[in-house]
Symmetry: C2
Subunit: 175 residues, 2 copies
């Protein structure tokens, strides 16, 4: 474990018992919440999303969930359908449709009709959309490197493994 002196060195994490102590904030123990997976996941989400919004600045896809994923999917899979995007997002179709509406209006994506099914749409990226996708990918890489730098190197692989597992299992609950 390196002790690379960071400019803003965080509180001493040298205490091996730190992981076992009850959480204390503003002088109050957060007893009930401590121990609840849901509370941590929801709290983490707020902070990560706020940081991401700040990094996205005023790009078309800032704010909310789903826009980034939808953009990158369309960029990677020309002809993908809204319902497929909805499946990845675990959102309903009205919500997904509105996300796509925006991107079409912003000139990032264009809608076509699927060759195989007249009901379905075929989504493709525009040049402007592709440029944005590249920018977004770079921002995500930066956030991973800069924002999550506090995750101990020895924890990274394990954290990612558990997150992936959790995500895949959650999908089955979603139906």
């Amino acid at each position: 474990m390196t002790t690379d002196a960071s400019p803003h060195s965080p509180p001493p994490d040298t205490d091996p018992d730190a992981d076992l102590r009850p959480l204390e904030i503003a002088g109050h123990r957060i007893d009930i919440l401590d121990g609840a997976f849901s509370w941590f996941i929801r709290s983490l989400d707020s902070v990560v999303s706020r940081d991401l919004d700040a990094r996205m600045g005023h790009l078309e896809v800032a704010k909310g969930k789903g826009k980034i994923t939808a953009l990158l999917l369309i960029d990677d899979y020309p002809g993908i359908r809204p319902s497929e995007i909805a499946e990845v997002l675990m959102r309903d179709r009205p919500t997904t449709g509105r996300i796509i509406d925006r991107m079409v209006q912003a000139g990032l994506v264009s809608r076509g009709v699927s060759a195989h099914d007249q009901r379905a749409q075929s989504l493709t990226i525009t040049p402007a959309g592709h440029d944005l996708a590249e920018k977004v990918r770079e921002i995500i890489r930066q956030q991973e490197a800069e924002f999550f730098d506090f995750i101990a190197p020895e924890d990274r692989a394990q954290f990612m493994r558990i997150l992936r597992r959790t995500y895949m299992r959650m999908r089955s609950k979603w139906t």
Copy 2:
């Protein structure tokens, strides 16, 4: 696609390499997103929050983040101040104030003036608020037991440890 003959059978959980394979959804690999902590945390949040909302039904504190935490804090710490709640929530004071407004209007919480500082408020729970807090605690316990049942027993302690660490480190970023 009509060539959708590919078997949909997801990887059996028995496969030890499942953790290493790229994620595939709706027949598409989610390459760039796979590997990003932010994406998993944000996706997990959506599902957990939706499940929680469903369990909360039409209780006063359903939907959104912060209401549950605020209610439980006030129930546990009579006289707590809005700014302390804001610190736990990692939210600004306008947002926190509005959460409290609601609870006051719903008769769950009452506002007083701090004995030590005329500027500050002293929040206390009402009988109705206390009853609700008890219900909420039970719902959270149920969700932890039922919804997160898919987290492998051997992963639980480690996942919680990493989540707690991550949460505490994130606080320093919040400022």
